[in-house]
């Protein structure tokens, strides 16, 4: 053994090396955030998708506030008619403008012609669904979601249901707010 040179091995040195090796092996070098990002992204996409496709995702305005009810039936998606105090929309497309919840005076004079655009729009929607069903889609079940303002006169509501019935819509579901 050369003088001054460190000893080749000693018990203390071996212990130190072991400790160092053990420390390096179990060290947490940093939190892996990639997996957490994946989880967060999936969660966000799921929430956005659920929010966007929910049938209750209806844009309310001052002139479109459904009445309150104690009914507890859950919403089922379907063809949607919106009856506000200013307009009637079929699946978010304007089909008839209203004045204070009623058709304009010149249109109201002829009852059949006043509601004809609503009937035509519902008929077109029904034909579209039937064409999709012919191509393998879901069949037309004749259900209609009616989202109407709480101040809508009964005769206006009934007229819309009447023209919908003529267009082969047989199940009417009135949308309400939970009381």
């Amino acid at each position: 053994m050369v003088e001054g040179a460190p000893p080749e091995t000693s018990d203390d040195e071996l212990l130190l090396r072991r400790r160092k090796r053990a420390k390096l092996g179990s060290a947490i070098e940093g939190l892996n955030l990639t997996a957490m990002m994946d989880v967060m992204t999936i969660l966000l996409v799921y929430l956005i998708k659920q929010y966007a496709s929910a049938p209750e995702n209806i844009q309310f305005a001052e002139d479109l506030k459904p009445p309150a009810s104690i009914t507890s039936d859950k919403l089922v998606p379907g063809v949607r008619v919106l009856l506000s105090r200013s307009a009637i929309l079929v699946d978010d497309k304007l089909v008839l403008s209203l004045q204070d919840g009623r058709p304009p005076p010149d249109e109201a004079s002829g009852e059949v012609s006043a509601w004809a655009p609503v009937g035509a729009a519902l008929g077109t929607r029904r034909e579209t669904i039937q064409r999709i069903a012919d191509g393998g889609g879901l069949p037309f079940d004749g259900s209609l979601m009616v989202v109407a303002d709480e101040d809508t006169p009964y005769d206006v509501l009934y007229s819309v249901l009447y023209v919908a019935g003529k267009e082969q819509f047989t199940t009417f579901r009135l949308i309400t707010r939970r009381k």
């Binding site: 966000l44 039936d73 919403l75 709480e150 101040d151 019935g165 309400t176």
Partner: protein
Amino acid sequence: MSGGGGGQEDLNLVPYLDIMVNLIMFMIVVTAYIVELKEAPVLPPAYGGGGGAGDQQKAYLTVAMADQGYVIIAGGAAEGTEAPIPKAGNEYDTKALTIKLKELKAALPNLSESVVITAGTTQNYSEVMATMDAVRFDGVATKPLFTGVTLASVVQR
């Protein structure tokens, strides 16, 4: 000196994660504040002629919403008109209507489970919906009274 731009460093994901967490919290809170909507089914009116012998043995109720209050009209096997239920102040007395309908349901064994509601041009949708609730439920949604409601044509005066 480390200095270089050539070193390949990991992308700092912490700010992205912060954004994600905030977005998710926002979505959850917004969803909680969305107006909870439910639906009330309405049966379509029956078109065509009268029913068979079985239908004639059944009793049918019609609730007419007049300006003064409710008028209950019985048809079929139990023809007649009940005493009107006047308005309570400016509003329809829905509680009295439910009580009267419960009495009729107990008294008429062949009573149909479907009730027809009709109104005029002066009644609005919220009043009709309150009447529908009074017909369909005995105070709460867990106590059904009549299962079906049909909206009939407008009462002409």
